[in-house]
Amino acid sequence: MGRDIKLIIDQDTEKLIRASLQVTNIPILGEEYGGEITDERYWVIDPIDGTANYFRGLDECCVSIALMEGNEALVGVIYNFNNNQMYTAIKNEGAFLNNIKISVSDIASKDKASITTGFPASETIESSMNFLEDLKGWKKVRMFGSAALSCAYVASGKCDYYAEKGVYLWDIAAGICLVKEAGGCAEFKLIDKERYEVVFSNNLL
């Protein structure tokens, strides 16, 4: 399970979101109550991305909802309820922050760019050293503790690159749509039964 924590409110919030989306009769995949990836449309929800931050009163946490079709993200919604920042995107219609169009940054060199990532859990010393090696050369390194917000920050040009191993689809589904629609690149591949390695960038790095 790594270093994840779970709160009762994660479960209660997922129930609330499921109730809101139920009217569509579209299947739902959620962090707390499961579901399946299908080739047809399905919702992907993370009731609190950044639960540990929420638990400790840190503002880097959000609600994440995506509409997927197979591996394609049709809609992405990431809401940081702490500062009322609503990131939204629809495939082929652009990405927005509080209804204002956003785009990825135009920074093209690592020595001027900010990377956001997460420290890998349950890894060996050797892989941790490799991880640290990969961080050399970036101007700034940030670890927000929320994959969804990391995606939103790349989409809005606040960061330039997001890379992490071991995230789940509900962590990044909405971010896929946001980053692509903001002009960036979203690459993700399955590395075990349900976890992904992701690289989201401004397309220049």
Partner: protein
Amino acid sequence: MHGKQFKMTVNELKDLAVDAARQAGDFLNKSKLEKKEVYK
């Protein structure tokens, strides 16, 4: 397995997701003092 899906446009589905996220966020803001860890 699932009932008939309503004919909603992708834009309408986005609006529904935004409403659901906002409602969830309001709930989470109100619940900040009631956090209880269930397991690690």
